[in-house]
């Protein structure tokens, strides 16, 4: 094996991206749409005006918060699919404060954000306890809790929190202005939340690279049994990782109700949690890539709104593009493994 990389090896990481582009281009052609028009519509939709850019950033905030949290749980070897529910419960908790507490903005908003974090943390801890004490794999516990969180929101907005004119099932009545995050230039972007997301990500990065806790999580994720024997209290660290991830996700949910919307709505998250999982998978759990990928996802999704309006194509196209991309990167992103797989195939008689 030579030390210098071959040319193929160097361009390899770009190939899945190109392949994903090819797949979507073929889909576009099959639907009779000009790919150039489609991609330029997407670009316009994401970056065409400053308002679009703010929208991309506003959508990025909860996504980045959730993805940052997931970096922690993945490090600990946990598949926190319940993140969707944690976002929702963060939104619910923030809404509770927004609806029930009357304080000056300077106190109200921090209280709402803290409540959001507590709500998400609690819901995550529940999935954690189900795993550590109940032996329920976090994928299934999390999934069930996601649906329960959605049902709980529906119950609230159709029941106790319905607006005075009656439950329309759309959401609660709008929160007072003092309870909402200040918005940047008439957009849905709250600079405060963007700053919080960046701080959260930086904090996670510090934890993972330089802290004892991060090291313990890594140990836990690599080999829970050994970590336990080396003195890592596996249950406690797992719960803690879940709770911190849930807190960040919950904060994202809080930001959703306090800036993107102005009230608690049904499906307040709408899959942002699942999207965050895809972000982290595409980033390959790498710190530096995570915010970039999150930004890319946010841009693609926002772009696909314009795509749909200009070409009248189904906007699931954006999801497909990202999905195919993640799949291809997962499958073929690692040059070494691909090379070995195909070499082995040639040399091995056994199927």
């Amino acid at each position: 094996m030579s030390l210098s990389k071959t040319r193929l090896e160097r361009v390899w990481p770009l190939l899945p991206g190109l392949a994903a582009l090819l797949v979507t281009t073929l889909l576009l052609l099959a639907m009779g749409t000009s790919p150039v028009d489609a991609y330029s519509a997407m670009w316009q939709g994401a970056f065409g005006t400053s308002a679009r850019v703010y929208s991309v950033l506003a959508f990025l905030v909860p996504l980045l918060l959730a993805a940052s949290g997931l970096l922690l749980t993945f490090k600990a070897g946990l598949w926190n699919i319940g993140i969707e529910g944690q976002i929702i419960m963060g939104a619910v908790a923030a809404s509770w404060v927004a609806l029930r507490v009357q304080l000056p903005s300077g106190l109200q908003i921090p209280l709402e954000l803290l409540a959001a974090m507590a709500g998400g943390a609690l819901w995550a801890a529940l999935a954690g306890v189900l795993k550590t004490r109940g032996g329920v794999h976090e994928i299934f516990g999390g999934l069930a809790l996601n649906n329960l969180a959605i049902l709980f929101t529906n119950y609230l907005i159709a029941g106790p929190w319905q607006p005075p004119e009656g439950g329309s099932f759309r959401g609660t009545q709008p929160f007072g202005a003092h309870a909402l995050l200040p918005l940047f230039e008439n957009s849905r972007l709250s600079l405060l939340s963007l700053a919080l997301a960046i701080v959260a990500f930086a904090g996670v990065a510090l934890v993972l690279t330089n802290s004892h806790w991060g090291l313990r999580l890594k140990a836990l994720g690599q080999n829970a049994r050994s970590a336990f024997l080396l003195g890592v209290s596996s249950n406690r660290e797992m719960l803690l990782a879940m709770a911190v991830c849930g807190a960040l996700a919950g904060l994202g949910g809080g930001v959703r109700v306090l800036s993107w919307f102005d009230s608690l709505r049904q499906s307040i998250s709408g899959g942002i949690g699942y999207l965050a999982l895809m972000v982290v998978l595409l980033a390959g759990f790498r710190l530096v890539l995570t915010p970039l990928v999150a930004f890319f996802f946010s841009a693609v999704l926002n772009g696909s709104i314009t795509l749909q309006l200009r070409t009248q194509l189904h906007s699931a196209l954006g999801d497909i593009l990202t999905g195919v991309l993640v799949l291809l990167v997962l499958l073929f992103g690692n040059y070494e493994r691909v090379r070995r797989a195909f070499r082995r195939r040639r040399s091995q008689a056994d199927g």
Partner: protein
């Protein structure tokens, strides 16, 4: 509620459980061979669409089921290829495919939304259908239900009573041992993952062509995850898995009945039942609870209880092959 109504309800429960039973059998086969196909939710959706669209376009139900099976098989093939050849994490691939199947079905299904289309005709089996109680429940159904029931028996028999089944299980339990005995582990894992995936595909078509006829975005969303949980509840046995699927269907039917009997209880409470049930059941069969429970049970009860409660996954489930 009189007895004919009860019988009718049981018949409907069986019909509504049929796709779950088929999917659970498929996934059980795959996992027994060592491959977790986590893509079930997306795979069910896309195959439901494929089955409906193919049957609608060709007018042939059989082609519908075949198309669906092909879609399920392709999904499973991707999982198998990713893990067996490229040595990537099965769970990650499966999860992404679950998401992708969802959005692909939404995109490709736009022009099929809620179109009237073909459905599997009822087929009452002569003589058997007249058996009191059992006749109406078991034999006044359609081909999908009969297929599901036969599949459960056939899967069980294949897994536990044939040499091929023995080899299948050895690939999921101890691939190194299987390899030394000449079992082509990798090949078997491919075959059974794909076979299991094809069955999942058939389950998808069973929804769109029989149990919930037609197509709409998110038509079967959630059922894939439920099926995966039932495989665990079923302790990787098709019999217990089928029982789990029927119990699940029964609980949902009960919730529908109860909703009407207790109008004062919030609707969400009933819609929460399946998810609460999922958690409860998984806690119950998990080692954490089952083991101490068993240790405390009277000796006479211990064996049957263990059969019902304890479920160890195939030992090499989800692990890549260690080929030198």
């Amino acid at each position: 509620m009189d007895s004919t109504q009860l019988i009718a309800i049981f018949g409907s429960i069986l019909l509504q459980s049929a796709p779950l039973i088929i999917a659970v059998c498929g996934e059980t086969i795959s996992e027994r061979a060592g491959v977790i196909n986590l893509s079930l939710d997306g795979s069910l959706l896309l195959s439901a669409l494929a089955g409906f669209a193919a049957a609608l376009l060709t007018g042939s139900l059989l082609l519908g089921f075949l198309a669906a099976a092909a879609v399920g098989a392709v999904f499973a093939l991707i999982v198998a290829f990713g893990s067996l050849h490229l040595r990537q994490n099965q769970v990650a691939i499966g999860f992404v495919l679950a998401m992708l199947g969802d959005s692909l079905s939404a995109f490709l299904g736009q022009n099929y939304t809620r179109l009237p289309g073909p459905s599997v005709p009822a087929w009452h089996i002569p003589l058997l259908k007249d058996i009191p109680v059992l006749g109406p429940i078991l034999f006044r159904q359609d081909a999908v239900v009969y297929f599901a029931l036969l599949l459960v028996g056939a899967t069980w028999w294949f897994l536990f009573r044939t040499r091929a089944g023995l080899e299948l299980r050895s690939a999921g339990e101890r691939p190194e041992a299987a390899f030394t005995r000449g079992v082509a582990v990798r090949k078997l894992r491919y075959i059974y993952a794909v076979l299991g995936g094809a069955l999942v595909g058939i389950a998808g078509a069973a929804y769109s062509l029989d149990v919930k006829i037609g197509w709409a975005e998110g038509h079967t969303r959630g059922m894939g995850w439920i099926a995966l949980a039932i495989v665990i509840f079923g302790g990787w046995s098709p019999l217990r898995g089928a029982l789990g699927a029927v119990l699940f269907g029964a609980t949902k039917a009960l919730a529908t009945v109860l909703q009407r009997s207790f109008p004062q209880v919030a609707l969400v409470a009933f819609n929460a039942v399946p998810w609460l049930l999922m958690i409860l059941v998984l806690v119950l069969v998990s080692g954490r609870l089952a083991a101490p429970l068993l240790a405390r049970a009277p000796a006479a009860l211990r064996r049957p209880l263990r059969g019902l409660l304890q479920a160890a996954p195939p030992a090499a489930l989800g692990q890549p092959l260690d080929d030198n």
